[in-house]
């Protein structure tokens, strides 16, 4: 990856949640980098630490209980973890913005959607209230909602429209990095397709880099250039879309693909990955996937495998590659 084009570089990021039941190691020793204009898919099952990672980037983790134990997050060459609260505020919404999972709950029910979009614009630009509202209307048009609906409250919009508003809000200040946390999970399939299509168009138009969190491999295939597979707080496999879809090496990634039902198969049973995610307060000592892994060997139990580059830009964290 070219150094000069680097947008985001995460080094050894470790995030714990201190709970009554013990320390939850949500993210451990995570390394990740992405360059300008990339769309990175962050894939993993619920509880893998995807949302914790990106909230860590935004510095939006509630502390307590969350604690960034160590690591560095470089955005545009600057370490976000060293920024003051005030500096972070000027980055949030302007340089990095975020789309949350559930559009039903991520809009403020007592503010008009126009005001909510205008709020972002006014925070980061020195313009009048009226101007910012007009810009908010323009943003709404961009996501396919008529400008005159800016005076509506969230409860007057459908789910798909709400998610469009959330997207408009996130893109209003033309951020360098957009983090989309399962942006379509809460929508039904037809609306999903529309919203994704629109997002793809806007991302290209604004030349925004995107981290797309999802557990839907279909969405990944459609939108992402690079894919990182997360399991129990670690990235177990990273590569281009081709690497992951055509040449997956990690047993967990293989397992994920095996889960996709085959419409032509005679037997209509699903093929799940056996077992459950490990208890996050008591993770296995060696490879985190070891208890569920079909090819686990002796070394897996005690030794956490290193991240190996098996071909140019394709990293796998497994003893057997």
């Amino acid at each position: 990856m070219e150094q000069k084009n680097l947008l985001l570089k995460i080094k050894d990021l470790t995030i714990n949640y201190n709970t009554y039941d013990g320390i939850v190691k949500a993210v451990e020793g995570l390394n990740l980098s992405m360059s300008n204009g990339q769309t990175l898919g962050l894939v993993g099952e619920t509880g893998a630490g995807k949302t914790t990672t990106v909230k860590g980037i935004m510095r939006l983790l509630p502390d307590p209980p969350a604690k960034i134990v160590r690591g560095e997050i470089y955005f545009d060459g600057e370490n976000l973890l060293k920024k003051s609260k005030k500096e972070m505020r000027s980055i949030r919404g302007k340089q990095i913005s975020m789309i949350f999972q559930d559009p039903m709950t991520s809009l403020n029910p007592v503010m008009t959607v126009g005001d909510q979009i205008a709020e972002t614009i006014r925070l980061h630009n020195d313009i009048s209230k009226k101007q910012s509202f007009e810009e908010a209307c323009t943003m709404l048009e961009q996501v396919g909602i008529k400008g005159e609906r800016a005076g509506d409250y969230p409860h007057q919009l459908s789910g798909g429209m709400k998610q469009r508003v959330v997207i408009a809000m996130a893109l209003a200040c033309n951020p360098k990095l957009l983090i989309a946390d399962e942006p379509t999970t809460a929508l039904d399939v037809t609306i999903q397709a529309q919203v994704l299509e629109m997002m793809k168009k806007l991302i290209a138009q604004y030349n925004t880099s995107v981290i797309m969190i999802t557990h839907d491999l279909g969405i990944v295939a459609e939108t992402c250039d690079y894919i990182a597979i997360m399991y129990a707080g670690e990235i177990v496999e990273y590569g281009t879309k081709q690497h992951i879809f055509l040449n997956a090496k990690h047993p967990y990634t293989k397992g994920l693909f095996a889960c996709i039902p085959d419409i032509t198969a005679e037997d209509n049973k699903l093929t799940p990955i056996e077992g459950l995610m490990p208890d996050p307060t008591n993770l296995p000592k060696g490879c985190k996937f070891y208890p569920r892994c079909p090819m686990a060997g002796k070394e897996c139990e005690n030794e956490n495998p290193a991240n190996k580059e098996i071909e140019n830009g394709h990293f796998v964290k497994c003893h057997f590659v």
Binding site: M58, L60, R89, S90, I91, R92, G93, K94, S97, M98, F100, Q101, D102, T105, S106, L107, N108, P109, V110, M111, E119, T120, L123, H124, Y153, H155, V166, M169
Partner: protein, 310 residues
């Protein structure tokens, strides 16, 4: 919205009629003879009592007396004459109700300022020392009887420090102690309600959204969180204010405030029917108006409710 308000105001008429009927009937079946009580002290003779009974119209049947009360009220706006002072009841209410209103307004104002601020800070700094101390104080405030708290305040500020007068209600200085006495217990309730309501709202996704926009914490709390947490707070404040419309009998007695609560208790003891009836009517009306205002405020606090107000 205007239509809704007009309809609600019109609905007050049957409510007031119902209240009149209930109060009138209750007073009718309550044992005790106002003429006897009135003349009792001077040792009135049997003839004098009977004469007074006749004059007061106490010998007429129930339905005639109720009819007369309603007719005088509707046609002349006349609530009757106080047995004791011979003043019109409306005049006695005009003397006492403003005091109650002032006391209620002042103490609720105080309670809202203290309660909402404490509640917000406690919620934002949940489980901190501030939160624990504030909630312990709130517990104390709700459990401490008003009259006792009033007496303690009086001992400290009127007797030992001699800063504030202990009784009467003629100047602002007189109002401070009673307002603090009533206000603190309301503040405690409001603080607890604000805290729990804010805690619920603070965990919502749209608060994260507001933070993700780069909004400062204080604006996130006041504009995004507080406005969403308002409904239960408005409800609590409304109930507190409404209850105070009936006067704070104990506090009024301790501080010798000529309020409606004290007037009512005296009137009930003397079987002073017109004053009791008139007083209850005014209290019920004030309570209903406060309720209406609370309902209208809901619509401003939450646009989702506005569409239901037709």
């Amino acid at each position: 919205m205007l239509k809704y308000i007009i309809r609600r105001v019109l609905m007050l008429i049957p409510v007031m009629l119902g209240v009149s009927l209930v109060v009138f009937t209750l007073m009718y079946i309550t044992p005790g003879n106002p003429a006897e009580i009135l003349l009792g002290e001077e040792g009135g003779s049997k003839e004098a009592i009977e004469l007074l009974e006749e004059e007061m119209g106490l010998n007429d049947p129930y339905i005639v007396r109720f009819g007369r009360f309603i007719w005088n009220l509707v046609s002349k706006g006349d609530l009757g004459t106080c047995y004791a002072t011979r003043q019109p009841v409306s005049q006695r209410i005009a003397q006492t109700f403003p005091n109650t209103l002032k006391l209620a307004g002042l103490s609720v104002g105080l309670a809202v300022v203290i309660g909402v601020v404490l509640g917000i800070v406690s919620a934002v700094k949940q489980y901190s020392i501030f939160d624990n101390v504030a909630m312990a104080l709130a517990m104390l405030g709700t459990s401490m009887p008003n009259f006792w708290q009033g007496l303690l305040l009086m001992i400290l500020f009127s007797i030992h420090l001699q800063w504030l007068p202990a009784s009467g209600f003629s100047s602002f200085k007189h109002m401070i102690l009673p307002a603090v006495t009533i206000g603190t217990s309301s503040a405690a309730v409001i603080a607890r309600m604000t805290r729990s309501s804010m805690l619920e709202v603070i965990r919502q996704d749209y608060i994260s959204t507001a933070r993700a926009k780069g909004q400062s914490e204080i604006v996130v709390i006041l504009r995004h969180a507080l406005k969403n947490a308002l409904i239960p707070i408005i409800t609590t404040v409304g109930i507190r204010f409404g209850v105070m419309m009936g006067g704070a009998v104990l506090t009024e007695s301790i501080f010798a405030i000529p309020g409606i609560g004290k007037m009512m208790v005296d009137a009930i003891k003397a079987r002073n029917y017109p004053v009791v009836q008139g007083g209850v009517l005014v209290i019920a009306l004030a309570f209903s108006v406060v309720n209406l205002i609370v309902d209208i405020l809901y619509a401003f606090a939450d646009p989702r409710l506005k569409s239901q107000y037709r």
